[in-house]
Protein backbone atom coordinates (compact mmCIF):
# COMPACT_ATOMS: atom_id res chain seq x y z
CA UNK A 1 0.00 0.00 0.00
CA UNK A 2 1.42 3.39 -1.07
CA UNK A 3 1.67 5.76 1.86
CA UNK A 4 -0.74 8.64 1.58
CA UNK A 5 0.91 11.78 2.94
CA UNK A 6 -1.47 14.08 4.81
CA UNK A 7 -1.11 17.77 3.98
CA UNK A 8 -3.15 20.81 3.07
CA UNK A 9 -2.45 19.95 -0.55
CA UNK A 10 -3.80 16.37 -0.19
CA UNK A 11 -6.85 17.72 1.58
CA UNK A 12 -7.51 20.27 -1.17
CA UNK A 13 -7.12 17.62 -3.86
CA UNK A 14 -9.49 15.27 -2.03
CA UNK A 15 -11.99 18.08 -1.56
CA UNK A 16 -12.02 18.70 -5.32
CA UNK A 17 -12.59 15.00 -6.07
CA UNK A 18 -15.37 14.44 -3.55
CA UNK A 19 -13.16 12.81 -0.89
CA UNK A 20 -13.31 9.52 -2.78
CA UNK A 21 -9.55 8.93 -2.80
CA UNK A 22 -8.80 8.48 0.91
CA UNK A 23 -7.18 5.17 1.78
CA UNK A 24 -7.40 3.26 5.07
CA UNK A 25 -4.91 4.87 7.45
CA UNK A 26 -3.35 1.53 8.46
CA UNK A 27 -3.38 -2.15 7.53
CA UNK A 28 -5.59 -4.52 9.54
CA UNK A 29 -3.22 -7.51 9.41
CA UNK A 30 -3.71 -11.25 9.85
CA UNK A 31 -1.20 -12.99 12.11
CA UNK A 32 1.99 -14.51 10.66
CA UNK A 33 3.66 -17.52 12.27
CA UNK A 34 6.55 -15.64 13.81
CA UNK A 35 7.84 -12.13 14.62
CA UNK A 36 11.00 -10.82 16.23
CA UNK A 37 8.86 -8.91 18.73
CA UNK A 38 5.22 -9.38 19.69
CA UNK A 39 3.68 -6.53 21.68
CA UNK A 40 0.46 -7.44 23.50
CA UNK A 41 -2.04 -4.57 23.69
CA UNK A 42 -3.14 -2.14 20.99
CA UNK A 43 -3.48 0.90 23.21
CA UNK A 44 -1.30 3.97 22.88
CA UNK A 45 1.65 2.35 24.63
CA UNK A 46 1.69 -0.85 22.57
CA UNK A 47 1.40 1.02 19.27
CA UNK A 48 4.01 3.62 20.24
CA UNK A 49 6.35 0.78 21.24
CA UNK A 50 5.93 -0.84 17.83
CA UNK A 51 6.42 2.46 16.02
CA UNK A 52 9.66 3.34 17.81
CA UNK A 53 10.94 -0.24 17.52
CA UNK A 54 10.67 0.13 13.76
CA UNK A 55 11.70 3.76 13.46
CA UNK A 56 14.43 4.22 16.05
CA UNK A 57 15.72 0.72 16.76
CA UNK A 58 15.43 -0.87 13.31
CA UNK A 59 13.26 -3.80 14.46
CA UNK A 60 10.57 -4.15 11.79
CA UNK A 61 9.35 -7.72 12.31
CA UNK A 62 6.82 -6.61 14.92
CA UNK A 63 3.19 -7.42 15.66
CA UNK A 64 0.80 -5.58 17.96
CA UNK A 65 -1.85 -7.96 19.21
CA UNK A 66 -5.13 -6.50 20.43
CA UNK A 67 -8.04 -8.47 21.85
CA UNK A 68 -10.66 -5.93 20.75
CA UNK A 69 -10.08 -2.90 18.55
CA UNK A 70 -7.12 -0.55 18.91
CA UNK A 71 -7.79 2.33 21.28
CA UNK A 72 -10.80 0.60 22.87
CA UNK A 73 -9.10 0.47 26.28
CA UNK A 74 -7.85 3.35 28.38
CA UNK A 75 -6.31 5.08 25.38
CA UNK A 76 -9.84 5.89 24.25
CA UNK A 77 -11.26 6.56 27.71
CA UNK A 78 -8.88 9.03 29.31
CA UNK A 79 -9.25 12.77 29.85
CA UNK A 80 -6.28 13.55 27.57
CA UNK A 81 -4.10 15.61 29.89
CA UNK A 82 -0.39 15.75 29.08
CA UNK A 83 2.13 17.35 31.47
CA UNK A 84 5.50 16.83 33.15
CA UNK A 85 4.97 18.54 36.52
CA UNK A 86 6.41 15.79 38.72
CA UNK A 87 8.48 16.02 41.90
CA UNK A 88 10.81 13.03 42.04
CA UNK A 89 14.11 12.84 40.13
CA UNK A 90 13.15 9.32 38.99
CA UNK A 91 10.02 10.69 37.29
CA UNK A 92 10.73 14.19 35.96
CA UNK A 93 13.18 13.27 33.14
CA UNK A 94 10.86 10.55 31.85
CA UNK A 95 7.74 12.73 31.70
CA UNK A 96 9.73 15.63 30.27
CA UNK A 97 11.08 13.32 27.55
CA UNK A 98 7.46 12.46 26.85
CA UNK A 99 6.32 16.09 26.70
CA UNK A 100 9.17 16.90 24.30
CA UNK A 101 8.07 14.01 22.09
CA UNK A 102 4.49 15.33 22.19
CA UNK A 103 5.79 18.71 21.04
CA UNK A 104 7.12 17.18 17.82
CA UNK A 105 4.74 14.26 17.48
CA UNK A 106 2.41 15.52 14.79
CA UNK A 107 5.25 16.34 12.41
CA UNK A 108 6.92 13.05 13.18
CA UNK A 109 3.77 10.97 12.63
CA UNK A 110 2.30 13.17 9.89
CA UNK A 111 -0.94 13.01 11.84
CA UNK A 112 -3.05 15.61 13.63
CA UNK A 113 -3.09 14.47 17.24
CA UNK A 114 -4.54 17.84 18.27
CA UNK A 115 -1.76 18.48 20.77
CA UNK A 116 -2.74 21.71 22.48
CA UNK A 117 -0.38 23.30 25.01
CA UNK A 118 -3.03 25.21 26.86
CA UNK A 119 -1.35 24.82 30.26
CA UNK A 120 -2.19 23.12 33.54
CA UNK A 121 -2.90 25.08 36.70
CA UNK A 122 -2.78 23.19 40.02
CA UNK A 123 -4.56 25.26 42.66
CA UNK A 124 -3.41 25.40 46.26
CA UNK A 125 -5.58 26.20 49.24
CA UNK A 126 -3.23 26.56 52.23
CA UNK A 127 0.24 27.86 53.10
CA UNK A 128 1.56 24.31 53.42
CA UNK A 129 0.27 23.35 50.01
CA UNK A 130 1.82 26.44 48.48
CA UNK A 131 5.16 25.45 50.05
CA UNK A 132 4.81 21.96 48.60
CA UNK A 133 4.05 23.43 45.17
CA UNK A 134 7.05 25.71 45.44
CA UNK A 135 9.20 22.68 46.14
CA UNK A 136 7.73 20.80 43.18
CA UNK A 137 8.13 23.81 40.89
CA UNK A 138 11.74 24.19 41.95
CA UNK A 139 12.40 20.48 41.37
CA UNK A 140 10.95 20.87 37.88
CA UNK A 141 13.07 23.93 37.12
CA UNK A 142 16.21 22.17 38.34
CA UNK A 143 15.46 19.59 35.66
CA UNK A 144 14.93 22.25 33.00
CA UNK A 145 11.13 21.96 33.03
CA UNK A 146 8.96 25.09 32.95
CA UNK A 147 7.05 25.94 36.13
CA UNK A 148 5.51 29.16 37.45
CA UNK A 149 4.17 29.75 40.92
CA UNK A 150 1.21 32.11 40.75
CA UNK A 151 -0.33 34.22 43.48
CA UNK A 152 -4.09 34.62 43.87
CA UNK A 153 -4.19 37.80 41.76
CA UNK A 154 -2.52 36.08 38.82
CA UNK A 155 -4.85 33.10 39.14
CA UNK A 156 -7.80 35.49 39.22
CA UNK A 157 -6.68 37.03 35.93
CA UNK A 158 -6.50 33.58 34.31
CA UNK A 159 -9.66 32.11 35.74
CA UNK A 160 -11.94 34.80 37.24
CA UNK A 161 -14.81 32.32 37.60
CA UNK A 162 -13.18 30.33 40.44
CA UNK A 163 -14.59 30.56 43.95
CA UNK A 164 -11.63 32.45 45.44
CA UNK A 165 -13.12 33.23 48.83
CA UNK A 166 -14.63 29.85 49.53
CA UNK A 167 -14.74 29.61 53.34
CA UNK A 168 -13.27 26.13 53.44
CA UNK A 169 -11.02 26.09 50.36
CA UNK A 170 -9.81 29.65 49.68
CA UNK A 171 -7.45 29.85 46.70
CA UNK A 172 -3.91 30.77 47.75
CA UNK A 173 -2.41 30.53 44.27
CA UNK A 174 -1.32 27.82 41.91
CA UNK A 175 1.48 26.06 40.12
CA UNK A 176 1.31 26.59 36.38
CA UNK A 177 3.01 24.51 33.72
CA UNK A 178 2.39 26.39 30.48
CA UNK A 179 3.75 23.67 28.20
CA UNK A 180 1.25 21.12 29.54
CA UNK A 181 -2.13 20.67 27.91
CA UNK A 182 -4.26 18.12 26.11
CA UNK A 183 -4.18 15.92 23.01
CA UNK A 184 -6.82 14.02 21.07
CA UNK A 185 -6.73 10.56 22.70
CA UNK A 186 -7.88 8.34 19.85
CA UNK A 187 -6.09 10.53 17.32
CA UNK A 188 -2.88 9.56 19.08
CA UNK A 189 -3.76 5.87 18.76
CA UNK A 190 -4.58 6.18 15.05
CA UNK A 191 -1.50 8.29 14.39
CA UNK A 192 0.85 5.75 15.94
CA UNK A 193 -1.01 2.88 14.24
CA UNK A 194 -0.69 4.51 10.84
CA UNK A 195 2.98 5.39 11.28
CA UNK A 196 3.83 1.90 12.63
CA UNK A 197 1.87 0.18 9.88
CA UNK A 198 3.74 2.24 7.28
CA UNK A 199 6.99 0.84 8.65
CA UNK A 200 5.86 -2.75 8.33
CA UNK A 201 4.34 -3.42 11.76
CA UNK A 202 1.39 -5.85 11.73
CA UNK A 203 -1.58 -4.60 13.75
CA UNK A 204 -3.76 -7.59 14.59
CA UNK A 205 -7.17 -6.90 16.10
CA UNK A 206 -9.77 -9.25 17.59
CA UNK A 207 -6.94 -11.46 18.76
CA UNK A 208 -6.85 -12.19 22.49
CA UNK A 209 -3.69 -13.50 24.14
CA UNK A 210 -4.70 -16.48 26.29
CA UNK A 211 -1.31 -17.88 27.28
CA UNK A 212 2.40 -17.97 26.60
CA UNK A 213 4.41 -20.46 24.60
CA UNK A 214 7.40 -21.57 26.69
CA UNK A 215 10.42 -23.66 25.73
CA UNK A 216 11.75 -26.42 28.06
CA UNK A 217 13.97 -23.88 29.85
CA UNK A 218 10.89 -21.80 30.68
CA UNK A 219 11.70 -19.01 28.24
CA UNK A 220 8.71 -17.33 26.60
CA UNK A 221 8.93 -17.99 22.85
CA UNK A 222 5.51 -16.82 21.74
CA UNK A 223 1.88 -16.31 22.63
CA UNK A 224 -1.23 -18.47 22.46
CA UNK A 225 -4.11 -16.44 21.06
CA UNK A 226 -7.73 -16.78 20.04
CA UNK A 227 -6.37 -16.82 16.47
CA UNK A 228 -3.72 -19.47 17.07
CA UNK A 229 -0.13 -19.64 18.19
CA UNK A 230 2.24 -16.79 17.27
CA UNK A 231 5.97 -17.28 17.90
CA UNK A 232 8.23 -14.43 18.91
CA UNK A 233 11.84 -13.67 19.76
CA UNK A 234 10.60 -11.45 22.56
CA UNK A 235 7.17 -10.68 23.98
CA UNK A 236 6.26 -7.32 25.52
CA UNK A 237 3.13 -6.73 27.60
CA UNK A 238 1.43 -3.32 27.31
CA UNK A 239 -2.07 -4.21 28.48
CA UNK A 240 -2.69 -1.51 31.14
CA UNK A 241 -5.69 -2.55 33.31
CA UNK A 242 -5.27 -6.20 32.32
CA UNK A 243 -1.61 -6.46 33.33
CA UNK A 244 -2.13 -8.85 36.28
CA UNK A 245 -4.39 -11.04 34.18
CA UNK A 246 -1.92 -11.45 31.30
CA UNK A 247 1.07 -11.78 33.67
CA UNK A 248 -0.74 -14.58 35.49
CA UNK A 249 -0.40 -16.69 32.32
CA UNK A 250 3.32 -16.75 33.20
CA UNK A 251 2.58 -17.28 36.93
CA UNK A 252 3.76 -13.78 37.82
CA UNK A 253 2.26 -11.97 40.80
CA UNK A 254 2.76 -8.21 40.40
CA UNK A 255 2.54 -5.15 42.68
CA UNK A 256 -0.54 -4.02 40.76
CA UNK A 257 -4.27 -3.74 41.49
CA UNK A 258 -6.91 -2.97 38.87
CA UNK A 259 -9.22 -0.11 39.85
CA UNK A 260 -11.97 1.78 38.07
CA UNK A 261 -11.61 5.49 37.30
CA UNK A 262 -14.59 7.44 36.03
CA UNK A 263 -14.73 10.53 33.82
CA UNK A 264 -17.47 12.89 32.72
CA UNK A 265 -18.26 15.27 29.88
CA UNK A 266 -20.85 18.04 29.78
CA UNK A 267 -22.87 19.37 26.88
CA UNK A 268 -20.90 21.61 24.53
CA UNK A 269 -20.39 25.18 25.72
CA UNK A 270 -18.68 28.27 24.36
CA UNK A 271 -15.04 28.50 25.49
CA UNK A 272 -14.99 29.14 29.25
CA UNK A 273 -12.05 27.23 30.73
CA UNK A 274 -8.65 28.37 29.48
CA UNK A 275 -6.60 25.23 30.18
CA UNK A 276 -6.54 22.34 32.60
CA UNK A 277 -7.42 23.31 36.18
CA UNK A 278 -7.05 21.04 39.21
CA UNK A 279 -8.57 21.49 42.66
CA UNK A 280 -5.99 21.02 45.41
CA UNK A 281 -8.24 20.35 48.37
CA UNK A 282 -9.64 17.13 46.99
CA UNK A 283 -9.21 15.36 43.72
CA UNK A 284 -10.95 17.11 40.86
CA UNK A 285 -9.71 18.31 37.49
CA UNK A 286 -11.36 19.88 34.49
CA UNK A 287 -10.61 21.07 30.98
CA UNK A 288 -12.68 21.95 27.93
CA UNK A 289 -12.50 20.00 24.71
CA UNK A 290 -12.29 21.72 21.33
CA UNK A 291 -15.93 20.66 20.77
CA UNK A 292 -16.85 22.63 23.90
CA UNK A 293 -17.61 19.85 26.36
CA UNK A 294 -16.25 20.21 29.88
CA UNK A 295 -14.16 17.11 30.51
CA UNK A 296 -13.68 16.34 34.18
CA UNK A 297 -13.01 13.67 36.75
CA UNK A 298 -11.69 12.93 40.20
CA UNK A 299 -10.81 10.00 42.41
CA UNK A 300 -10.83 6.30 41.80
CA UNK A 301 -13.93 4.49 43.04
CA UNK A 302 -11.58 2.81 45.49
CA UNK A 303 -12.19 -0.95 45.13
CA UNK A 304 -10.69 -3.48 42.72
CA UNK A 305 -12.63 -3.66 39.49
CA UNK A 306 -12.47 -4.96 35.95
CA UNK A 307 -16.00 -3.76 35.14
CA UNK A 308 -15.14 -0.57 33.17
CA UNK A 309 -17.94 1.23 34.97
CA UNK A 310 -18.15 2.90 38.36
CA UNK A 311 -20.72 3.76 41.00
CA UNK A 312 -22.69 6.77 42.19
CA UNK A 313 -20.73 7.87 45.31
CA UNK A 314 -17.90 9.08 43.06
CA UNK A 315 -20.33 10.87 40.76
CA UNK A 316 -21.62 12.77 43.77
CA UNK A 317 -18.12 13.42 45.09
CA UNK A 318 -16.81 14.75 41.76
CA UNK A 319 -19.82 17.04 41.31
CA UNK A 320 -19.48 18.38 44.86
CA UNK A 321 -15.83 19.20 44.23
CA UNK A 322 -16.72 20.92 40.98
CA UNK A 323 -19.20 23.10 42.83
CA UNK A 324 -16.68 23.88 45.56
CA UNK A 325 -14.21 25.33 43.11
CA UNK A 326 -16.18 26.66 40.13
CA UNK A 327 -19.86 27.07 40.96
CA UNK A 328 -20.55 28.27 37.41
CA UNK A 329 -20.42 24.69 36.10
CA UNK A 330 -23.48 23.83 38.16
CA UNK A 331 -25.74 24.94 35.34
CA UNK A 332 -24.09 22.71 32.71
CA UNK A 333 -25.65 19.33 32.09
CA UNK A 334 -23.57 16.16 32.18
CA UNK A 335 -23.80 14.41 28.85
CA UNK A 336 -21.92 11.19 29.45
CA UNK A 337 -19.84 9.36 32.02
CA UNK A 338 -17.73 6.25 31.67
CA UNK A 339 -15.03 4.24 33.39
CA UNK A 340 -11.70 2.66 32.58
CA UNK A 341 -9.58 0.11 34.40
CA UNK A 342 -6.39 1.49 35.91
CA UNK A 343 -3.33 -0.63 36.56
CA UNK A 344 -2.53 0.88 39.97
CA UNK A 345 0.93 0.08 41.33
CA UNK A 346 1.63 0.16 45.03
CA UNK A 347 3.83 3.25 44.80
CA UNK A 348 1.89 5.06 42.08
CA UNK A 349 4.71 4.85 39.50
CA UNK A 350 4.95 2.66 36.38
CA UNK A 351 7.08 -0.35 35.53
CA UNK A 352 9.12 -0.73 32.31
CA UNK A 353 11.38 -3.72 32.88
CA UNK A 354 12.30 -7.29 32.14
CA UNK A 355 10.36 -9.87 34.13
CA UNK A 356 11.88 -12.84 35.96
CA UNK A 357 10.69 -14.93 32.98
CA UNK A 358 13.23 -14.84 30.12
CA UNK A 359 11.80 -13.48 26.88
CA UNK A 360 8.94 -11.66 28.64
CA UNK A 361 8.98 -7.88 29.17
CA UNK A 362 6.62 -5.67 31.14
CA UNK A 363 5.24 -2.21 30.48
CA UNK A 364 2.47 -1.41 32.97
CA UNK A 365 1.37 0.16 36.20
CA UNK A 366 0.43 3.47 34.58
CA UNK A 367 -2.21 4.26 37.17
CA UNK A 368 -4.32 7.18 35.92
CA UNK A 369 -1.42 9.01 34.35
CA UNK A 370 -0.36 6.92 31.40
CA UNK A 371 -1.79 8.91 28.52
CA UNK A 372 0.78 11.69 28.85
CA UNK A 373 3.44 8.98 29.01
CA UNK A 374 2.42 7.36 25.71
CA UNK A 375 5.30 8.53 23.47
CA UNK A 376 8.07 8.11 26.08
CA UNK A 377 6.67 4.81 27.30
CA UNK A 378 6.75 3.46 23.74
CA UNK A 379 10.23 4.86 23.18
CA UNK A 380 11.67 3.41 26.40
CA UNK A 381 9.92 0.04 26.07
CA UNK A 382 11.20 -0.22 22.49
CA UNK A 383 14.70 0.56 23.81
CA UNK A 384 14.38 -2.19 26.42
CA UNK A 385 13.03 -4.74 23.93
CA UNK A 386 15.65 -3.93 21.28
CA UNK A 387 18.72 -3.57 23.49
CA UNK A 388 17.85 -5.52 26.63
CA UNK A 389 18.84 -2.51 28.72
CA UNK A 390 16.64 0.16 30.31
CA UNK A 391 16.55 3.58 28.71
CA UNK A 392 18.27 6.09 31.07
CA UNK A 393 15.10 8.16 31.66
CA UNK A 394 13.12 5.03 32.60
CA UNK A 395 15.86 3.44 34.68
CA UNK A 396 13.91 3.83 37.92
CA UNK A 397 10.87 1.96 36.64
CA UNK A 398 12.22 -1.37 37.83
CA UNK A 399 10.06 -4.25 38.92
CA UNK A 400 12.39 -5.13 41.80
CA UNK A 401 12.16 -1.68 43.42
CA UNK A 402 9.42 -3.00 45.68
CA UNK A 403 11.77 -5.64 47.09
CA UNK A 404 14.78 -3.32 47.29
CA UNK A 405 12.83 -0.48 48.90
CA UNK A 406 13.64 2.05 46.18
CA UNK A 407 10.03 3.05 45.71
CA UNK A 408 8.96 6.01 43.58
CA UNK A 409 6.08 7.22 45.69
CA UNK A 410 5.18 10.76 44.51
CA UNK A 411 2.40 10.99 47.07
CA UNK A 412 4.00 9.13 49.94
CA UNK A 413 0.87 7.02 50.25
CA UNK A 414 2.45 3.62 50.88
CA UNK A 415 1.42 0.17 49.70
CA UNK A 416 -2.28 0.96 49.32
CA UNK A 417 -3.29 1.06 45.66
CA UNK A 418 -6.50 3.04 46.08
CA UNK A 419 -4.63 5.89 47.82
CA UNK A 420 -2.04 6.39 45.06
Amino acid sequence: MERQHYSLFTLARQALTGHRGWQPAWRDAAPQDRYDVVVIGGGGHGLATAYYLAKIFGVTSVAVIEKGWIGGGNAGRNTTIIRSNYLLPGNIPFYEHSLKLWEGLEQDLNYNAMVSQRGILNLCHSDEQRDAFERRGNAMRLHGVDADLLGPAEVRRMAPFLDFDNARFPIFGGLLQKRAGTARHDGVVWGFARAASDRGVDIIQNCEVTGFVRDPSGRVTGVETSRGKILAGKVGMAVAGNTSRVASFADLRLPIESHVLQAFVSEGLKPVIPGVITFGAGHFYISQSDKGGLVFGGDLDGYNSYAQRGNLPIVEDVCEEAMAIMPMVGRARVLRSWGGIMDMTLDGSPIIDRTPVPGLYLNGGWCYGGFKATPASGWCFAHLLARDAPHPVAAHYRLDRFASGQLLDEKGAGAQANLQ
Binding site: N242, S244, R245, R253, L254, P255, I256, E257, S258, G302, Y303, N304, S305, Y306, A307, N311, P313, L346, F402, A403, A415, Q416, A417, N418
Partner: protein, 86 residues
Protein backbone atom coordinates in the same frame (compact mmCIF):
# COMPACT_ATOMS: atom_id res chain seq x y z
CA UNK B 1 -23.18 -0.94 45.36
CA UNK B 2 -25.13 -2.14 48.35
CA UNK B 3 -23.31 -4.19 50.96
CA UNK B 4 -25.33 -6.36 53.34
CA UNK B 5 -23.57 -5.96 56.67
CA UNK B 6 -24.29 -8.90 59.03
CA UNK B 7 -24.96 -6.37 61.83
CA UNK B 8 -26.60 -3.47 60.00
CA UNK B 9 -28.30 -4.96 56.94
CA UNK B 10 -28.13 -3.58 53.39
CA UNK B 11 -26.20 -0.28 53.34
CA UNK B 12 -24.66 1.96 50.69
CA UNK B 13 -21.04 1.15 49.89
CA UNK B 14 -20.02 4.74 50.67
CA UNK B 15 -20.37 3.85 54.38
CA UNK B 16 -17.58 1.32 54.03
CA UNK B 17 -13.83 1.55 53.66
CA UNK B 18 -12.16 -0.86 51.22
CA UNK B 19 -8.97 -2.45 52.50
CA UNK B 20 -8.01 -4.84 49.68
CA UNK B 21 -7.69 -8.51 48.89
CA UNK B 22 -7.89 -10.84 51.86
CA UNK B 23 -6.40 -14.05 50.49
CA UNK B 24 -2.68 -13.47 51.29
CA UNK B 25 -1.75 -14.23 54.89
CA UNK B 26 1.05 -12.56 56.82
CA UNK B 27 4.20 -14.68 56.74
CA UNK B 28 6.10 -15.64 59.91
CA UNK B 29 8.48 -12.89 61.03
CA UNK B 30 11.55 -14.95 60.04
CA UNK B 31 10.20 -16.07 56.65
CA UNK B 32 12.66 -13.83 54.78
CA UNK B 33 12.57 -10.77 52.55
CA UNK B 34 11.00 -12.45 49.52
CA UNK B 35 8.04 -13.70 51.56
CA UNK B 36 7.60 -10.31 53.26
CA UNK B 37 7.82 -8.41 49.95
CA UNK B 38 5.35 -10.83 48.37
CA UNK B 39 2.90 -10.24 51.21
CA UNK B 40 3.17 -6.42 51.25
CA UNK B 41 3.39 -5.78 47.49
CA UNK B 42 2.24 -8.93 45.63
CA UNK B 43 -1.37 -8.91 44.47
CA UNK B 44 -3.41 -11.70 42.89
CA UNK B 45 -5.76 -9.07 41.45
CA UNK B 46 -8.20 -11.57 39.92
CA UNK B 47 -10.77 -10.78 37.26
CA UNK B 48 -13.62 -12.66 38.91
CA UNK B 49 -14.50 -13.57 42.50
CA UNK B 50 -12.14 -12.00 45.03
CA UNK B 51 -12.03 -12.34 48.82
CA UNK B 52 -11.48 -8.89 50.30
CA UNK B 53 -11.76 -6.86 53.50
CA UNK B 54 -14.20 -3.98 53.98
CA UNK B 55 -14.62 -1.93 57.15
CA UNK B 56 -18.05 -0.59 58.09
CA UNK B 57 -16.60 2.74 59.14
CA UNK B 58 -19.81 4.80 59.24
CA UNK B 59 -21.83 2.36 61.34
CA UNK B 60 -20.92 -0.76 63.36
CA UNK B 61 -17.15 -0.45 62.77
CA UNK B 62 -16.75 -4.15 62.05
CA UNK B 63 -14.25 -5.64 59.65
CA UNK B 64 -16.00 -7.73 57.04
CA UNK B 65 -14.74 -10.58 54.92
CA UNK B 66 -16.45 -10.21 51.59
CA UNK B 67 -16.46 -12.18 48.38
CA UNK B 68 -17.21 -10.02 45.34
CA UNK B 69 -16.91 -10.50 41.59
CA UNK B 70 -14.56 -7.80 40.27
CA UNK B 71 -16.04 -8.10 36.75
CA UNK B 72 -19.62 -7.31 37.81
CA UNK B 73 -19.35 -5.79 41.34
CA UNK B 74 -21.76 -8.49 42.51
CA UNK B 75 -21.40 -9.42 46.19
CA UNK B 76 -21.29 -13.20 46.62
CA UNK B 77 -20.98 -13.32 50.42
CA UNK B 78 -20.46 -11.00 53.39
CA UNK B 79 -19.36 -12.33 56.78
CA UNK B 80 -17.71 -10.92 59.88
CA UNK B 81 -13.92 -11.15 59.62
CA UNK B 82 -13.76 -11.98 63.33
CA UNK B 83 -15.87 -15.09 62.79
CA UNK B 84 -13.44 -16.29 60.14
CA UNK B 85 -10.44 -15.64 62.39
CA UNK B 86 -9.14 -13.10 59.82
Amino acid sequence: MIISCPHCGPRDSSEFYFRGEATPTRPEYDAGTAAATGYVYGRINPAGPQKEHWYHAAACRSWLLVERDTRTHKFLSVTLASEQGR
